[in-house]
């Protein structure tokens, strides 16, 4: 049986499979299953039963999210599906692999998702910098259109779907689903108030589902090989496989599809080859820049959403950033704060004014001008920019590495103050 449904067709030493090659490896079989009589309700049930959780960061159950979309006679005629392909979380490089490596998988998954919620229009909200992904996806959309998998009355089901490519122009906040919807409508990408949730009132006020690329890429496997097969993939609690990445000073940084539930140690030490010679592991952000630092003592925690939450962080995107003992943790966190300060949309005050303040303090630390009062101000910001204090999750995301870093690397912060310099610099 297939054990790597997300990457089974990916070989980066050659161009991605064309539609014939993709179909030869069970591609688009799910659509034929739908055409033989799977109703949208049937597909929704399968996805709910699969236990698939969103792979974009929040880990919300996909089937449950879809179930909030109005259906039946009284539902609005126009609904939308959006593939969130605006990958920009620092240290995250997984959706790029899927789109460059096997674009038809995303297209097939989008057709399944759109059929389930009965959306006749779908947008791919692609990061503008992903020029190779854009070319690969445009070609795949064209091939799928020619084959009758897109367009009118797909495989005689009476279901119509157009997939439209939207390339963005670079803002992290567009990854937030309501900000993304504003961007697609041609507005500044400020997040919207929730409720109403996009599932009920999203793009142009119509019911809209926004799913991450990797989430959508799970769907063809679930329909083609079945829920039991999907449940057999995991080594832990959460179902399915996931793309896991490691970057930083490890021997072989990379991105791999692995079952959920493996120990973190296996990812860092076996797949990423462990630390480069002469370096020790100091800590790591388990799922991109908005997650709390974990320490070497957490290496035996398993790669499950709940298990990582238990030790105070998040699995989020599953792409780890590794901190070694010769790299300054204060500098690393400062780099993240610069990113978050730059990418704040500017809509709400704590985020717009708080993050640049934090960023400036880190610059002062770096320049040997930090003091004890600054340290207190950083601690205060962990509280004041935390969950529930800001309009969206951007600033709370920034407090994750900040708060955990202040706790775990206290001595390094204090050294910057007492020595009035960064001792990691040569």
């Amino acid at each position: 049986m297939v054990t790597n449904p997300l990457t089974k067709n990916i070989d980066m030493s050659r161009p991605p499979l064309d539609i014939a090659g993709y179909e030869a490896n069970a591609g688009y079989e799910s659509l034929h299953a739908i055409a033989k009589g799977l109703s949208p309700i049937d597909v929704l049930q399968l996805v709910k039963d699969s236990g698939l959780k969103g792979r974009g960061g929040a880990g919300f159950p996909t089937g449950l999210k879809w179930s909030f979309v109005p259906s039946g006679e009284d539902a609005p005629k126009q609904k939308y599906l959006v593939a969130n392909a605006d990958e920009m979380e620092p240290g995250t490089f997984k959706d790029r692999l899927l789109m460059e490596g096997d674009p038809h998988l995303l297209i097939e998954g989008m057709i399944i998702a759109a059929y389930t919620i009965q959306a006749s229009k779908a947008y791919i909200f692609l990061r503008g910098e992903y020029t190779v992904s854009e070319q690969a996806l445009r070609k795949a959309i064209k091939e799928a259109n020619e084959k009758g998998y897109l367009g009118k009355n797909i495989l005689g089901t009476g279901f119509d779907l157009d997939i439209i490519m939207h390339t963005s122009a670079g803002r992290y906040i567009c990854g937030e689903e309501t900000a993304l919807l504003n961007a697609l409508e041609g507005k500044r990408a400020n997040p919207r108030a929730k409720p109403p949730f996009p599932q009920v009132s999203g793009l142009w006020g119509k019911p809209t589902i926004v799913n991450n690329v990797e989430t959508i890429c799970n769907l063809p496997g679930i329909l083609t090989y079945g829920v039991n097969w999907y449940h057999g993939l995991t080594k832990g609690i959460d179902h399915g496989t996931k793309l896991f990445g490691v970057s930083g000073k490890v021997k072989t940084p990379g991105c791999w599809e692995l079952p959920l539930g493996l120990p973190i140690r296996e990812l860092i030490e076996n797949y990423a080859g462990g630390m480069q010679d002469g370096l020790e592991l100091r800590g790591f952000l388990p799922g991109g820049g908005s997650t709390d630092f974990l320490l070497p003592e957490h290496l035996d925690v398993t790669l499950d959403y709940e298990e990582i939450a238990k030790v105070g962080s998040r699995l989020a995107t599953g792409t780890m950033i590794v901190l070694d003992d010769k790299t300054c943790p204060v500098g690393m966190i400062g780099n993240l704060m610069k990113f978050f300060a730059h990418e704040s949309c500017g809509y709400c005050t704590p985020c717009r004014d708080g993050l640049p303040w934090v960023d400036q303090i880190f610059r002062d630390f770096e320049n040997g001008q930090g003091n004890e009062k600054d340290l207190q101000i950083l601690h205060d910001h962990v509280t004041y920019l935390g969950p529930g204090r800001t309009f969206c999750a951007l600033a709370p995301g920034a407090t994750a590495p900040l708060g955990s870093g202040l706790k775990h690397f206290k001595e390094d912060f204090e050294n910057h103050i007492t020595q009035q310099r960064c001792s990691y610099r040569h």
């Binding site: 240290g91 490089f93 910098e129 963005s168 122009a169 991105c255």
Partner: protein
């Protein structure tokens, strides 16, 4: 750069070219209203002109019937819409966390030295503009940067020299 609002200047919309109009019209078929095409139109104009001048922005606002301030709000919001003239090749240099750990600051210093420009500046010959960009999503091959549409990975000072000379030769 002037902070004056465009609407308060005497600047006038330029005429959009036939190919710009054709591309904007195509985008208009993909969205239910004209306003949604604003960003796409800015990108189309930038593809043709290299950047978005006030005259271009006014032209788009007029063509799509979008208030000037709204369109300017969008144009200034996005990192990749250039409201100042840029060089023939825009270098988008990733300065986010994985690239930072892998030593991107030293690579950036090398670029700045070789081209005699800092972030936000263009070389005297108009060949290169250097801009920092948030995480390019290729972290296992850090440090990385883009030059125009092309991604360059595992950067070293030697690689930077080769890349710069390749692009310079391409122009000639």
């Amino acid at each position: 750069m002037s902070q004056q609002l465009i609407a308060s200047t005497a600047k006038k919309a330029r005429a959009l070219s036939a190919s710009e109009i054709a591309e904007i019209e195509h985008e208009m078929t993909l969205y239910p209203d004209k306003k949604a095409v604003g960003l796409e139109a800015l990108k189309i104009v930038q593809k043709h002109e290299g950047w978005v001048s006030d005259e271009s922005l006014l032209a788009i606002a007029k063509y799509l019937d979008i208030p000037i301030a709204d369109l300017e709000g969008v144009a200034t919001f996005f990192n990749l819409v250039y409201r100042e003239q840029v060089g023939k090749n825009v270098i988008l240099f990733c300065d986010s966390v994985s690239c930072w750990i892998m030593g991107c600051e030293g690579i950036k210093g090398h670029i700045s030295k070789q081209l005699a420009i800092d972030y936000g500046e263009t070389t005297a010959d108009g060949e290169f503009t250097l801009i920092p960009v948030p995480c390019l999503g290729d972290c296992d091959r850090a440090p990385v940067m883009m030059v125009g549409p092309d991604l360059h990975r595992n950067l070293t000072p030697d690689k930077i020299d080769a890349i710069i000379s390749d692009y310079k030769n391409k122009q000639n």
